[in-house]
Subunit: 115 residues, 2 copies
């Protein structure tokens, strides 16, 4: 059962040791996640490549996402959103540590609710 | 084709005359919308009742959503999010006008991308 109500800025876990991922909503074809980052980035030899479409929004902090093939660098600050189509390789190449970076991520596709 | 990049706080249309709705992303089973409200509310005899699940997040301003059957009132401020399951009757019973209220709304379900 999904919680009806919450706040994206409260109860943020510490991300000092590792990025923190938390489902806010999980439906059959759609999942909404809060991600808290504190300086973490993606290893350049391990880009993400997902089965689901992903849409991210920066709620607090700053980040940089690098899309690959072809390469395109997006510097993101509060309110900025980026659509990452399924199958598009990408790296998180910067996240602000202090204050932490809070992302909203919406995943859509047949496997989005399966995780 | 969906835009890759944007910012939810920029290019907000004036909502003085009417609430403003804009698709930020439209996928087969998922639609993400920005809503700008400036004091508008739902007529109490015309509650919303939708085929899609809806999840809303307040990005700026304040609002009140009243779920019906059974009645539950949610006062929402920045960062608050509320899940409104498909078929649940609801009313927007308050929106802050100055500064305007900016909502992110995620619709999910077979008809979400059809609008």
């Amino acid at each position: 059962m999904n919680e009806l109500f919450g706040n994206v800025f409260t109860g943020c876990p510490s991300a000092t040791q590792a990025e923190q991922f938390e489902d806010l909503l999980k439906l059959p074809n759609c999942r909404i996640e809060r991600i808290v980052s504190a300086g973490q980035t993606t290893p350049s030899n391990q880009p993400y490549k997902q089965l689901e479409d992903e849409w991210v929004l920066i709620l607090q902090g700053e980040a940089e996402v690098t899309l690959l093939e072809p390469k395109a660098v997006y510097r993101l600050t509060q309110g900025d959103h980026l659509f990452i189509p399924a199958g598009r390789k990408h790296l998180v190449t910067y996240t602000q540590a202090e204050p932490v970076t809070i992302w909203l991520a919406v995943f859509s596709g047949v496997s989005a609710g399966a995780r």
